[in-house]
Amino acid sequence: METDLALSEQLPPLTVHEATVEADRCLYCYDAPCTHACPTHIDIPKFIKKIATRNLRGSAQTIYAANLLGATCARVCPVQELCEGACVLGSEHKPIAIGRLQRYAMDSAKASGVTPRARGVAAGIARKIAVVGAGPAGLSCAGELALRGHDVTVFEKRELPGGLSTYGIIALREPVDVAIDEARMIEGLGVKIRTGVEFGRDVTLERARGEFDTIVLSVGLGATPALGIEGEEAIVDGLAYIEMSKTDAASLRVGRNVVVIGAGNTAIDCATIAKRLRADRVTMVYRRTVSEMTCYEHEYLFALSEGIEFRFLAQPVGVVMKDGEVAGLECLRVELGKPDATGRPAPVVVAESEFVIEADQIVKAVGQVKPNQEKTGLAAAMGLKTEKGYIAVSADFETSVAGVYAIGDCVRARGAASTVMAVQDGKVAARAIEAKLSAVAAEVK
């Protein structure tokens, strides 16, 4: 897969020298706060110490013990908010570059063929488990179950495994190869990954219920929702825009004057791509202000450094066309009102304040459709209860239907959706599934 050089991985790998010097700087804290802050609770001082002592195999195994997708996480985690944000050296010095050291350990694991160790089989009985969706949540869960001796099949409707790691996270952070290699590594643990198979259609629910002891849904979220504005057909879907940049950048049409609607992580990513692929001007349009943006602060600063412009307090209302081509985005001015349900000041549209932002390409990146909004989705077909639009689950990630679990973005009713959270869900759910299956096995005996 050819990626445009302008989109190649932003941070170079650490050299042996850089990694050793950085690893030596780590204090080897006890009950370290970085480990607490990592959603998968990787024993960070332990894996860093092993880099310092050149025990790279042990370092990789330390990461695998807590997180099977360490290679992806090392690249995509918002470390400023997680491990590195909690590093004790952060307040007065520079925090340890935990993400980059993790990548160093995982790169070396890949180079030397180190794969995760078996987790020990509690029940000793191999069960058949179906995992739906080969994104980070599904791969993590499938890998954890396979390491415990179970017979796991992952169904993935797309052509390639990896979920948003493959199709959604821009190549600046994670090239496609990394996500694919990681999926191959999981396959190497005995997991069967069947791509191009849509669960619920190509494999019917009845068939699946008969064939598998447990079903795990890790289906992520849906497409970009409709804005419901005039001329929307002419607006490019941000997720498709990013996907194209990863799988076929050469065919991606990028305007000269691009407007991106939205201010979350995806919107920043779309704007970044447009800028990197040589748009003259990229403007992000958001109906609130900088302090209400849902992207992380470091992402906002990154966007500024890329030369991306921001247009706050503007509510898109329609696309302006000229000779069949996009010519601009018509907006209404917005004022901030009283706090709404989310606690943020509600945007109040000012009547008759129309203005046009010129553009020859408009991209929308305003989130993804939730499970309860998909009428034909699995949640509805399987009769699963939802919570705030997401699939409702117990602390063990079991849905309202016994034997059916759900993990990852599709259950993320609370907190920020991220890859590493999906990985942790997969791990915790695998443990719960294992515990439940072995309890059942014990009863049968």
């Binding site: 050793t20 370290a32 307040s91």
Partner: protein, 460 residues
């Protein structure tokens, strides 16, 4: 401005810092540059018997990438002796105010020593240092530490030298010996003018885990070399203090040139305080070059001004009277560790050290004041806010702290843990006094228990 001049057994120099006899003092051109940089003197790289050197002769022990010590299998000077002698004369002529001392080592025969002394004196050098220390190569040929380790040889050779020497003679001791006092006493008996210590320590720095060869590898072989630099400083200080507190040696009043790990003015001041009256440096110069002399002098001088010491002689030996033995320590002296929470970064290194290997008296205190266990968070908790906000604060239970000082030593933050002296409420008593006045207590566990209960000593 403090006066840094010294007069060491009649050898004068504008400051107490001399290049030790080693690679930094290998040639006239080098020493010329060192003097330009400000060094007070130089002990010429040992001259004497003919030798050949090998490649990969320096090994190192490092902390991370930082070199903490050098290990070497270098021999004495491999330059022709005539060249060395000619350059010594040139340097001395060009730098009359600096101390030029020549280190020597020849076969253990009186004629050989008589001749080398004569030839050195002909150069106009200010003094001679007898190298009884080289622990490798030369010792295999009956020289260096083969002499330094046997007090009788030390005394014999020193006598041969003293028979002819007209300029001051310094005997340089090897630390590769059980009791450093013995060869020092031998030098005193032979009427040497001064002592210097320490030469390098026997050492092997490591094994290459790829090839299983020693590091450094010299054509498939390796062996013990001499160890020097920062890592040996505590050993050198102890040996220096041992001489300063030995009755025979201290009575004789020989000045001592101290070395072994000096790399900063603070090290230097400590050597002076424990009795050295000139200072030699090798490894730190090999690491950073001659330029370090600037801060050695500047720092020492500023410190002396602050402390009100007018001259180096005022500093020499000032702390020697504090060197004592365990039996004289006050068993009622009490210090406890106290953590400055404003400085603490909550790395928990003190906690784990105290909990696993000291006295289990540091607690982790949650925001609500309760004692919590480590790793107490839920698997679903994450993020920097949660990690930082719920992070407990280590706190010392002072009533249980025995004041061992381990936490103080492991804490990575400057001035974060303080050892606070507290009244113990017990009368001063030493082990010596106990042995004399309550012998039973020192011999019998039941009597010890009874004694502890009576005076209120709790063991955790």
């Amino acid at each position: 401005m403090a006066d840094l001049k010294i007069d060491f057994a009649g050898i004068k120099s504008p400051n107490p810092f001399w290049l030790a006899s080693a690679p930094p003092a290998n040639s006239g051109a080098q020493i010329h540059r060192a003097f330009e940089a400000g060094w007070g003197g130089a002990v010429w790289k040992t001259i004497g018997a003919p030798v050949l050197n090998v490649s990969n002769r320096y090994g190192a022990w490092r902390q991370g990438r930082r070199m903490m010590a050098i290990n070497n299998v270098e021999l004495i000077s491999d330059r022709p002796i005539e060249v060395n002698l000619r350059e010594i004369a040139e340097v001395k002529r060009a730098w009359p105010d600096r101390a030029v001392i020549v280190s020597a080592m020849v076969e253990s025969k009186p004629e050989a020593w008589h001749e080398i002394v004569r030839r050195i004196e002909d150069t106009g050098a200010d003094g001679i240092e007898l190298n009884y220390g080289c622990p490798h190569g030369m010792s295999e040929r009956g020289m260096g530490s083969a002499v330094g380790q046997v007090p009788e040889y030390c005394e014999q050779i020193t006598r041969w030298v003293m028979e002819t020497a007209k300029i001051p003679v310094i005997v340089k001791l090897t630390p590769n010996i059980t009791n450093i006092v013995m060869p020092a006493r031998a030098a005193v008996a032979a009427k040497a003018n001064a002592l210097s210590l320490i030469n390098t320590l026997n050492s092997i720095v490591g094994v290459d885990l790829e090839t299983l060869e020693l590091t450094p590898n010299i054509g498939g072989k390796g062996g013990h070399g001499g160890y020097a630099g920062q890592a040996v400083k505590p050993i050198a200080l102890n040996m220096l203090a041992a001489l300063g507190t030995d009755e025979v040696v201290s009575h004789a009043g020989l000045p001592i040139s101290g070395m072994g790990g000096i790399s900063t003015w603070e090290d230097a001041a400590q050597f002076l305080l424990l009795g050295a009256s000139s200072l030699q440096v090798c490894t730190a110069v090999m690491h950073y070059g001659y330029r370090i002399i600037e801060d050695l002098c500047d720092g020492l001088s500023n410190w002396m001004d602050e402390k009100g010491f007018a001259s180096v002689a005022d500093v020499v030996g000032r702390s020697l009277h504090r060197v004592s033995e365990f039996k004289n320590f006050d068993l009622s002296f009490r210090a406890v560790a106290r953590i400055d929470e404003a400085k603490c970064i909550q790395c928990n290194l003190c906690y784990v050290a105290c909990n696993d290997t000291a006295h289990q008296c540091i607690d982790l205190i949650a925001a609500n004041g309760s004692v919590v266990q480590p790793y107490a968070y839920d698997v679903r908790a994450n993020g920097k806010e949660d990690a930082i906000e719920t992070r407990p604060q280590p706190k010392v239970r002072e009533e249980d702290c025995v004041g061992c000082r381990l936490c103080y030593n492991v804490c990575p933050v400057e001035e974060c843990i303080e050892m606070v002296e507290l009244p113990s409420g017990r009368e001063t008593v030493t082990w010596q006094e106990l042995t004399e006045k309550r012998t039973k207590v020192t011999e019998d566990w039941d009597a010890m228990k009874e004694y502890r209960e009576r005076v209120g000593i709790h063991i955790h």
